[in-house]
């Protein structure tokens, strides 16, 4: 019976893996095709089914019809995502620690309301924010700039960081803070020397969320830029003209997904560890 179970389990895992990987393989093979290769019916294996071509990949770094220069949007996306994520993570972690450990009260408004205020920013559909953001950035002359996008992305990512970190800090026993203070730490030293080193799993989760949400955003990258600044998702979509260049789209999609795969592999080990075990039994 355990043997049968193992077979079923393995089959299920393999099936799910195939389901997840197939689109990537499909994109990979398509990226080596030409217009004829794509429209001539389903083909799978290069050299066997069709003659592979590097045209799509070359097009990502060249100029001319059906090609884009992907380097610049890629770099712009990197700068915007990483700086917005980093700032959101720093501010969000500090805010979350405050919300988790100190009591704020203004009339009937308390900590939970403040936390909800942060999270509620993500409840409304993004389109609601488009016009306010557009007007505000316009007022400050930040439309179509990297800085403008960074500011908007901080507004979008901060709630995620706060939300994840408040929950994480709430699960760290307060006695740990108290012990640190008894052992001579001021509140800031307590945060820095004791709480932060024990928050790595939470920081990793919050960081991943920020990077993924920031990297994948299309809506604000599209509405708040025109010609000067272009982020990767917008650049990829702009490849689409009267003829859909599936080969270029596939190649650029793989390029855009690559950083996330790298991030996933880098942080995987932190996500497995419940490194808080032992703080308190």
């Amino acid at each position: 019976m355990p043997r049968l179970f193992r077979i079923i389990k393995t089959a299920a895992i393999l099936g799910w893996s195939a389901f997840v990987i197939a689109p990537f393989l499909w994109a990979l093979t398509t990226s080596f095709k030409t217009a004829n290769g794509v429209t001539a019916g389903p083909t799978y294996l290069p050299y066997v089914d069709y003659e592979p071509s590097l045209a799509a990949w070359k097009g990502l770094f060249g100029s001319g019809a059906g090609s884009i220069d992907i380097v610049q949007p890629f770099a712009a996306s990197m700068i915007v995502t990483l700086s917005a994520s980093a700032i959101s993570l720093i501010l969000g972690t500090l805010a979350a620690y405050g919300l988790s450990r100190f009591v704020y009260k203004a009339g009937p408004i308390g900590n939970n309301d403040l936390t909800f205020f942060f999270v509620s920013q993500r409840i409304m559909p993004p389109v609601v924010l488009a016009i306010p953001f557009f007007l505000m950035l316009g007022f400050f002359g930040l439309l179509d700039t990297i800085l403008g996008l960074v500011i908007v992305y901080i507004a979008l990512l901060l709630p995620i960081a706060v939300w994840v970190m408040v929950d994480f800090f709430n699960n760290i026993p307060r006695e740990l803070d108290e012990t640190a203070m008894i052992d001579g730490c001021t509140p800031i030293e307590t945060f820095w020397r004791v709480i932060l080193p024990n928050s790595l799993p939470g920081l990793v989760v919050a960081g991943i969320f920020c990077i993924v949400f920031g990297w994948n955003d299309f809506f604000f990258a599209f509405t708040l830029t025109f010609t000067e600044t272009q982020l990767l998702p917008v650049a990829i979509v702009s490849l689409n003209s009267s003829v859909t260049p599936w080969w270029s789209l596939s190649a650029s999609a793989l390029v855009s997904v690559a950083p996330l795969i790298v991030v996933a592999f880098l942080v995987e080990r932190y996500l497995e560890k419940g490194s808080l075990a032992g703080a308190r039994k």
Partner: protein, 362 residues
Amino acid sequence: MTYAIRNLTVADGNAIHLDGLDVELPASGVVTVIGRTLSGKTTFLKVLAGLQAVRSGSLVRDGVDLLNIPAWKRRVGMVYQQFVNYPHLNVRDNIVFPLRRAGCTPSEIEAKLTYVSDLLGLRPYLDRRPAELSGGQQQRVALARALVKDTDFLLLDEPLVNLDYKLREQLRDEFRRIFRDSRDRLVVYATTEPAEAMILQGHIIILHEGKVIQTGDYRDVFHYPANTIAAQVFNDPPMNLLEGEIAGGRMILGPSFETPLPAHFSTLAPDRYTFGLRATDLALGGDFSAVVALAEVNGSLTVLHLDLDGRNLVLEEEGVHLFQPGDRIGFTPDSARFYAFDATTGTLIAAPPRRSVSGQKD
């Protein structure tokens, strides 16, 4: 030099945790704060540590109100009932953490680490993380961290509660030895267990619902519980309390439970009283009979919960005696050991004479 605590009140909204405490603590020695769960023990310790905001009151030593000094400057050590250690540091770094914060020199740190890790038998575990230790070892690490630094007082909040019975006994004896060595600091030990208070042999503070019920030397508190609450909190099993009366030269405790008036009650006027008798002062066998409601064997002790005409009595007897619920048994009270409390206020009116002390705790 003492710590003078005046009118200390801690409240959160309408929930009052400490209610106008007035108490003096010696500058050194052991003070045991005993009370039931939620009696305010933890809050009291947190106030001493500087971790708890107070609504009113003062904690003065040498003319200085310590309540104005934040926890990180207060020179205090604390051990929690949970085993609180720094998960990201190994045992060595856990223990020396407060020394590093205090800016001790490396040689000082090394010397103190050696002393305290030998004292608590932690030498073999210095390179491990707390999560890799057993509960008893984790609690030793926490204790080491509290002992390693120069503190004015050391606070222990039910440090043995989460340990198994055997470890508890072992650490309890170690505590007594360690606290004896630290004559220059005040140890405040919070517990629900009278046995721990008796072993530590210190000054006693009985807390109940945020108020001080009684303070004094452990022997005095044991022999003269101020009222019925103190009698219950400071005895395990809690002292038996029976509503009754003195009439016609007899002590009447129930329809089928009355005895001649013991000598130490001879001056009491005929009236209604609450009588108290420790479980150990009831013996198996005799003229009175009751029904066993619950029987438990605890180590080499037998504890019987008896139903006597609808009232509960607890009897503790040396040795293992097996009974089933529903069994009818005979018992005898040691009537010379009865206490008498005021029937309405619960205040102690008469206590049995103290036995000649022969080095035993009783």
